[in-house]
Amino acid sequence: MCKENLPYLCALGSDPGPCAVRLSVPSSSNSQSRTDSPGLAQVWPRRAQRSGCGCGCGGTDADIGTFLSVARHQNVWILLFVLDSKVGRPRDVTSSPREPLRTCEQERLPSTAAFSFFTFSAHSHLPSHSGLMVVDSGTMEPAEEQQQEQEEEEEEEEEEMLGLDSEEENSEMSDDELQEAFASGLLKPGMNVLVDQPKKHVNNVEGMKQCLADFRKDLPWVERLVLTNPPAEDVLSQAEGKVPKPANGDVNADDDFQREMFFYRQAQATVLEALPLLSKHGIATKRPEDYFAEMAKSDQHMQKIRKKLISKQMILEKSEKAKKLREQRKFGKKVQVEVIQKRQKEKKAMMTAVKRYQKGMTDKLEFLEGDKKQPGKDSAQGSKKAAAKKGPNAKRKFKDQKFGFGGKKSGKKWNTKESFNDVSSFRAKVANAKGGKKGKGGKQNKRPGKSVRKKMKGRS
């Protein structure tokens, strides 16, 4: 990079606001334009100077950093320089580097993260197509996006910039001018780079046709066995009534299955068309059984393939079997549970029947016979019917007798002829039982007394 190529740069800061950096060079082309710019003795390494803060802090020329390296990437020069540790955003810099910093409202950039991208085009007569960004790790991305945005606007801005620059070259760039330029929208923050014209791709149609005409060989079909055809009809999917492919025949390359089926059907269509042609020319497609010849894949390889296919099938079968077994087990469990429940129900029914008999509600012993005569449901219903048939129970009857039908029966005759002849309250069992249960039935439990138990214990 030679000295003449380092122009006067008008640089603008990143999104929060504009800022300008001037790269002082003693280059002959520019020096007369800035009579009172401080010239530095050497071009390289360069102390970057900042000439005024756009946000109105009022800072003037000041050193802000040191150059590190330069590189060129696709028509953009990139200069790396490190801002001084006391420098935050350029707007933060005050009049001289030795004075303590006067901070702006915005926060200061940490020194470790402060480095800047500095770009300018190779054309020295168009100096101001560059922008300065103070980039820290967080804001690196948006700045680059801005660069892309700026690229389109680059073309339009060029004219205005040119006009602006010619003025500026004559006069020293001041903060106010920059502010005005920014306000009017001519200068935008971010990197402004020259963009190449879009690359033109060669498409020499005539040349290709000529070449094809020269190159083409006219041979009979038998020599080349070529067919051009779209794929055959998709019989399966039509039969299933699926959605047909797009009519233009464009296959979606990402849908693997559809794509492969497309190729398959294309091959099929070719084969269907070609077979009659081949037979016409006397070329066979089927080889006889005893025609032994070398194959493209060795027999060993085909054995491997066969084994793989068989193993795949085995795995499938095994998994099917396992699934079935699991299902069966689940089913078996269900059946088992049902059987247990049924048994429990039967037991319950039996117990209730026995209790009924014990309480004297029924004197039938049919529940002992089990399921033969009555299935579980019928016996339950039978007992219900019997209960219903009996009508209200004894308690109800007594109360009806005492209080029902108009109240007390006191003062009425009793021991009349009718009441004497009434034997409905006769209980044969009770009457005939000799020394049966007394009251509640005597001892409900047959447990012997303490003395008897002691005797039993002593004996055993």
């Binding site: 051009t228 070719t270 077979l275 497609t285």
Partner: protein, 278 residues
């Protein structure tokens, strides 16, 4: 039988068949019967001998240094499938590309399939008509070789293929040119001495997603049931040249993105590296 002199365009194939029959004979001990059997069967086509091999196409298939195993297998598969092909040793990358033309001339080949591996990742394929004709450069992707166990088909070694093209090949001039190149390169000439007289497989070339997809199917039944044999690959056209391995560019694919462009430039990488190391 062994006394048969094997001539090109003469009794060559009959001799070959006889040789095979002889091998069978060693096992079975009935040579004459088998031979007579093949002669008596109507379905056996006329042997290769009864025609003259006129369409003299020879394809040179070779590669540069630095290819990986998949590419090597692909090359071998193509040589297996194409009996009219010849092999050559690897070319040093120091030599310029037009040297390939000279190699072709030495080998007396008029077509060339040259595989070039860059950075041990990208595979480029050149297909060229050797002395004067057009050539094209492709980026090859999605390579599957014959040896993959999912490709269950098989075919005779050296049997002639059917070629099947997408109708899209006729619509644009660059594809029409490529179609002619493919036809002349991949189709086995009639009555080639190493070819088998049956047609039992079909190559398909299809255009999808602006790329050319190649598939190879075996014809099992007369009702066109097919099984894939392999190999299979995808070609992404880069450029078509008027000359062989050089010459003016006739066509450049605008949709082609070089694999290098996907990677960031070394300059930017250095900057980023410097920043993060700091």
């Amino acid at each position: 039988m062994s006394a048969f002199k094997r001539k090109r365009g003469g009794q060559g194939a009959v001799g070959k068949k006889a040789k095979k029959a002889k091998v069978v004979a060693d096992r079975d001990g009935a040579p004459s019967e088998t031979e007579q059997g093949t002669k008596n069967e109507v379905t056996v086509p006329a042997p290769v001998s009864s025609g003259k091999w006129t369409n003299k196409e020879r394809v040179l298939i070779f590669s540069s240094r630095g290819i990986n195993f998949r590419t090597r297998h692909l090359m071998q598969d193509l040589r297996t499938m194409m009996p009219h092909s010849k092999a050559d040793t690897k070319m040093d990358r120091k030599d310029k590309l037009f040297v390939v033309n000279e190699v072709c001339e030495i080998k007396n080949c008029n077509k060339c399939l040259f595989f070039e591996a860059k950075k041990k990742q990208d595979l480029y394929m050149w297909i060229a008509n050797s002395p004067h004709g057009p050539s094209a450069k492709f980026l090859v992707q999605n390579i599957h070789t014959l040896a993959e166990l999912k490709m269950t088909g098989n075919c005779l070694k050296g049997s002639r293929p059917l070629l099947s093209f997408d109708p899209k090949f006729d619509k644009e001039p660059q594809f029409a040119l490529l179609k002619e190149l493919f036809i002349q390169t991949f189709s086995t000439p009639h009555y080639h001495p190493k070819s088998q007289p049956f047609v039992d497989h079909v190559y398909t070339f299809t255009i999808a997603d602006n790329r050319i997809w190649f598939r190879n199917y075996q014809i099992i039944e007369e009702d066109a049931s097919l099984v894939e044999i392999g190999p299979r690959f995808v070609l992404n056209l880069i450029k078509v040249f008027q000359g062989s391995f050089g010459g003016p560019t006739l066509y450049e694919n605008p949709d082609f993105k070089s694999p290098n462009m996907v990677k960031p430039s070394s300059c930017l990488l250095k900057l980023y590296a410097w920043y993060f190391c700091k």
